[in-house]
């Protein structure tokens, strides 16, 4: 008897376990409030799109999605753009304090958001960018830049140094080499870094909520407000939750071949 033939069962059972709560959320989003509270049903009995209609027609709901996407995009572009030269420096050169600097960058991932929420609020109010998309994007660079540097450095260390040297001999200046040759070479790494920046900025709520009031309020904050103020509109909450899964699912699909490699190439 060969146990290995049944190996596929382990990932299958695990994936089913992962899908169950997601299924429950989606199924609830198509139910009416009466059905949710009144009875226990595995499938929606009175299939309704009312919850989704509310979200797509009410500006307080759909503006939340737009706000989230704006600050996540700013954050991803900013984090990757400043991390590229830094990661290049860490992968190619040795300089005074490089190892300490690398560890110090990592420590910023350890800072609990709960600790920094209030000081962040004061700092960003003081410089006058409270309640803007930029504020959230900047705050999220605290944990995304270290991660982007970490991942990109791993990818860059995998590129032989001969590439740089050959380019200089061919008469390329440094900026020309970096933009025309080096960046295309590590495009997979940039994809992975961007994926993780997107992911951590998209899922974070505490800082995003603290740093916004009206104009840049993220979807997640709209949801928590609904959950507490209007009592038990579970269907609406479920529909909003379901919609937050979609951008992530699209992004995963595009980078599926690279996510597994992303961290593996980074150094510890």
């Amino acid at each position: 008897m060969d146990l290995r033939r049944y190996k596929w069962l382990i990932p299958t059972v695990y994936i089913i376990f992962l899908m169950l709560p997601i299924y429950w959320l989606i199924s609830m989003s198509f139910k009416t409030t009466n059905e949710i509270l009144g009875s226990f049903t595995l499938f929606p009995q009175e299939f309704t799109l009312e919850n989704y209609r509310t979200i797509f027609t009410d500006p307080t709901w759909y503006s939340g999605y737009i706000n989230s996407i704006i600050y996540v995009t700013i954050n991803t572009v900013l984090s990757v753009a400043v991390a590229l030269p830094a990661a290049y420096a860490f992968s190619r050169y040795r300089f005074l304090g490089d190892k300490h600097l690398f560890f110090w960058l990592l420590t910023n991932r350890m800072a609990p958001a709960a600790v920094f929420a209030l000081p962040f609020f004061q700092l960003y109010s003081a410089i006058g960018i409270f309640d803007t998309h930029l504020a959230v994007a900047l705050a999220h660079t605290l944990f995304n830049i270290p991660l982007a540097v970490w991942i990109l450095e791993g990818f860059m260390s995998g590129v032989p140094k001969q590439l740089d040297e050959t380019a200089y001999i061919d008469g390329h200046s440094f900026p020309a080499f970096f933009i025309k040759i080096f960046i295309p070479t590590i495009s997979a790494g940039i994809g992975v870094a961007a994926f993780f920046c997107f992911m951590f900025s998209w899922v974070e709520l505490l800082l995003a909520k603290t740093l916004t009031a009206v104009a840049a309020k993220p979807i997640a904050a709209t949801m928590t407000k609904t959950a507490s103020s209007s009592g038990y509109e579970l269907g609406l909450l479920a529909a909003a939750g379901t919609l937050t899964i979609i951008p992530g699912a699209i992004v995963i699909y595009f980078v599926r071949n690279y996510i597994a490699k992303g961290f593996a190439l980074g150094r510890v």
Binding site: K7, W8, I10, P11, Y14, L18, L20, P21, I22, W24, L25, F40, L78, V82, P85, A86, R92, F95, L96, L101, L105, L106, N108, M110, A111, P112, A113, A114, V115, F116, A117, L118, L123, L138, T141, L142, I145, S157, K161, V203, L205, A220, M223, T224, A227, G241, T244, I245, G248, A249, I252, R256, N257, A260, G262, F263, A264, G266, R267, V268
Partner: protein
């Protein structure tokens, strides 16, 4: 790769340094500032020395939250790391199923944390949730809003659901980087599955597992949104982890001094543990 010494490399690091320092140092100094002062309102502050640190370090409340936090972090590490490695070992290596598995497994990682909390809240409700209803139907007296044991069970199950995939992805990345020649050599030597795991797969995964454990340690110690949406720290104080307690003190009671002192102690605990782990795990590579 042998690197050249070049102090000008600092210029490349400068933009990162400025941005991160702005975000890290100013707020950290604000916290330090609060932690040594006393206020009676109206923005009037007095120097109070280390009194808040003494208060926090000797308070039963802090010890209890820290204890719960440690229990939570070690429980989820003890479950997620072995489980993640086991799933990665059982995953297909080639073909269409690799992409299918990776995409489906990465799903929980990209769901906003409050949605994860709400989702599990709905999923585990004893009367209308799939998990709660099923457990009650098959004879368990399950109610996570009333019984501390059930609240802990739900909290840990939620974290396992949420983050095991990260360990799987990392461990899998380590496994696929092992050349086929290693396995062929092991076959010729007649090594059994355990020996292959112990002497080929585990050493190759060491680096990615270090990253996985570090990330899970740091992130689980910082966890706030999911438990606060799921249980809100209750029933009673039974699932009040450090972050939840901190937010209660800082934003609920507005006791900025004790909250700041607690923040710094909290941050130092994470920093020290990570540093020790990082140093021990990377020591071999230095030589």
């Amino acid at each position: 790769m042998n690197k050249t010494v070049n102090q000008k490399a600092w210029f490349f690091v400068l933009p990162v340094l400025i941005l991160v320092a702005f975000n890290a140092i100013v707020p950290l100094m604000t916290v330090v500032n609060y932690s040594v002062q006393e206020t009676f309102g109206d923005n009037v502050f007095f120097w109070s020395g280390l009194i808040w640190f003494e208060d926090v370090l000797t308070s039963d409340r802090f010890h209890a939250s820290l204890g719960r936090q440690l229990f939570f972090t070690f429980s989820i590490l003890a479950i997620e790391v072995p489980l993640g490695v086991a799933i990665a070992l059982a995953m297909p290596r080639k073909g269409i199923w690799v992409s299918v598995c990776l995409v489906l497994m990465a799903m929980p990682l990209l769901i906003p944390w409050n949605v994860v909390g709400s989702m599990w809240n709905i999923f585990a409700l004893p009367d209308i949730g799939l998990l709660g209803k099923t457990l009650n139907t098959i004879g368990f007296d399950y109610n996570y809003t009333r019984q501390p044991g059930d609240a802990w069970f739900t909290l840990i199950l939620m974290d396992v659901w949420h983050w095991t995939s990260l360990v799987v992805l990392l461990a899998y990345a380590g496994l696929v980087s092992i050349p086929d020649a290693y396995y062929q050599a092991a076959k010729i030597d007649g090594a059994n599955a355990w020996a292959v795991f112990r002497f080929i797969q585990l050493p190759k995964m060491k680096r990615v597992l270090t990253i996985a454990i570090l990330l899970r340690f740091m992130d689980s110690f910082n966890i706030y949104t999911e438990p606060s949406v799921l249980t809100g720290g209750g029933p009673g104080n039974s699932t009040t982890l450090l972050s939840i307690d901190l937010v209660k003190i800082a934003l609920g009671q507005f006791d900025l001094g004790p909250a700041a002192a607690m923040s710094l102690i909290y941050f130092l605990v994470i920093l020290l543990t990570s540093w020790v782990f990082y140093t021990v795990m990377t020591r071999d590579e230095e030589h």
